[in-house]
Symmetry: C2
Subunit: 374 residues, 2 copies
């Protein structure tokens, strides 16, 4: 009472294109059980008697069966897809978080049974329908939002909509948010950088940040203030555009007017500017002037003599974001459950009241640009 179809099942494969895959019914017939039993073998194997289970699994393997995603999605009202807006590459800067983050997210999601769906759209455009369209068409089960620093209208909108999402970045200007988020402690990173330069013997330090009232910048600046205060070194700061040229100009000015020997930069781009000035003046990075950047970009890794930089643990960020989504998907959207494992790192003194938030500590990757002062 089986075998009837088995040759057919095989022959389709050789037939060339299309290769119309086996369905649940095919497997059921082949294994001599009902369709529901096959479904159970996949989704609730503990319900089957072990001999039935192995017979079904064998049939599945033989026929090369995988459940049709569309059918399953339709039935379960889910897509097993996580939406991520993929922003344009920022050229001319050293910002290079995206690759590492997206790869980690892809791997982590896949391990959790999800895939990442990429879409594009303008986050500054209020008429942008990208998120809405994906939600209404049930194309994704949740979003990962990465641009919270824009005071992101999308974030608020998603919350109001009650659609599941998790953010890479704190809800800076949205006090009553309840969505899960993961962020990296920028203040702690800059503290690390500052202490590192002070430890290396630099007495006159400067902080180089970018203009604008971005909360990310403020955060990093807080770290500077804390560390510079702690160490009692001579400390000045400048805010300029986040470009190589502006960083170079600021460095020149700070060297001349303030005899700075240690530069704590809020970005690798600015740090590259500092290195340019040192190069022009024949000053040796590391030996004479210490420089630290932020983000551990490829630039930091390949520039001579290596740029010491604060590195964000993006792999961890991805892991925690996916875990957070797993907790809220299907369980009431924006309502984070307060009793589940809420971790807050030791750095998060001020933030420990945050709900569903997780603040990770960055590390400092030390390279030639900050080797011990001679």
């Amino acid at each position: 009472m089986n075998g009837v179809r088995s040759p057919a099942g095989r022959s389709v494969r050789g037939a060339g294109r299309g290769a119309s895959a086996a369905t649940l019914s095919d497997v059921a017939r082949y294994a001599g059980v009902s369709r529901q039993t096959v479904s159970n073998a996949i989704n609730s194997p503990e319900l089957l008697r072990s001999d039935t289970l192995s017979r079904v699994q064998e049939a599945i393997a033989t026929l090369g069966y995988s459940p049709n995603r569309a059918a399953r999605n339709l039935r379960t009202q889910s897509s097993r897809l996580i939406g991520l807006r993929f922003p344009p590459a920022q050229e001319g800067t050293a910002n290079a978080l995206l690759d590492r983050f997206v790869h980690s997210l892809t791997e982590t999601s896949q391990a959790a049974g999800y895939h990442v769906l990429l879409f594009s759209g303008d986050p500054e455009d209020p008429t942008d329908q990208a998120y809405d369209e994906l939600i209404r068409s049930h194309s994704v089960d949740a979003f990962i939002v990465t641009d919270t620093y824009l005071g992101n209208p999308q974030t608020r909108w998603l919350r109001e909509r009650g659609f599941p999402f998790a953010a890479f970045g704190r809800p800076w200007n949205d006090a009553d948010s309840t969505h899960p988020w993961v962020d990296v402690d920028g203040a702690a990173g800059i503290e690390l950088a500052t202490h590192h330069l002070a430890d290396a013997g630099h007495q006159r330090l400067a902080f180089l940040g970018w203009e604008s009232d971005s909360p990310i910048m403020d955060d990093r600046h807080v770290g500077w203030q804390r560390a510079a205060g702690d160490r009692g070194v001579y400390a000045v700061e400048r805010r300029v555009l986040d470009t190589v040229e502006a960083g170079a100009r600021a460095a020149a000015e700070l060297l001349d007017a303030e005899q700075i020997s240690g530069f704590v930069c809020a970005s690798d781009t600015l740090a590259m500017g500092v290195l340019h000035t040192l190069w022009h003046r024949q000053l040796a990075p590391g030996a004479e002037v210490g420089v630290v950047g932020f983000d551990d970009s490829q630039v930091a890794q390949v520039v001579q003599p290596g740029l010491t930089s604060v590195r964000q643990p993006l792999e961890e960020v991805a892991v925690h974001l996916v875990a957070a989504l797993g907790r809220i998907i299907g369980s009431g959207a924006a309502e984070a459950d307060d009793e589940s494992d809420q971790e807050v790192t030791e750095d998060a003194n001020d933030e420990s009241r945050e709900q569903a938030g997780l603040l990770l500590s960055p590390t400092l990757v030390v390279r030639g640009s900050s080797s011990r002062k001679s």
Copy 2:
């Protein structure tokens, strides 16, 4: 025998989470037409009388209706999703094509009614089931394959399977392939670079490539041979590891032993190595020694004094790949139709026999590292 459901459909929206969206039936009822008519309004609007059409469209707008993807996918046996393996970030190198390419792909796909689905997997592992699993579950309609240089087993496997895909990269070692591909003419890029340095007055040129018998490397090397031959300059070449350190060492050796004043590098990573050596020796990039890299990475853009580099037109690559997929999806998989617009650029003399292939020309982005010899 209807109507029973209507209040439920609406009221859910206010109820908070879930926001179970409107369905075709809701729209049909609201507009006073049959479900089929609504479907036609969306998929074949020309079939409707204009007044019916506008009434339906109004209903769609009012109810905020979008077709349920899963249902549509199930019915049409398609997913409107393009699979792309997202490889791990290569740290310590200047390879930075991915961001630009993926963003372009995302935008282009979206414009064509597709989304990009990311997955991970080990392309070197023959037991890796990532592609197979996605195909069998009907999760994607096609793939974009980017790692053809591996002599990619996946590529051959996909072809045998008859599953639609397009490749970024020529089918180097798969003569009888028939899949569409788009590639960038590396030989032309290196020719551009070489002529550029010769034009700047450099008489003693070196080509710095990486070891291994990668066909990509061979391609670039061909460009070197052509251009160096044309110009009759003194020309030497070296193959080393594709690292900054190896590039630096090779440059030192070439400066000492060959008095080279122009370096044509097969990667930005190697070019950075050359710049390091110049920096150590207080030689001015551009003015004294010309250096050109390949890929126009962020590193090239921010390093002092700017690294001249060959830039791949990734946006165009994405556009043509998506266009190619559009042609083959649903129309018999791997069978490219020979009469559709096959474009081959003027550089593709040798390749003009290629089927379904498109070779794009890179450009040279000139920066400080190759400014005219004084």
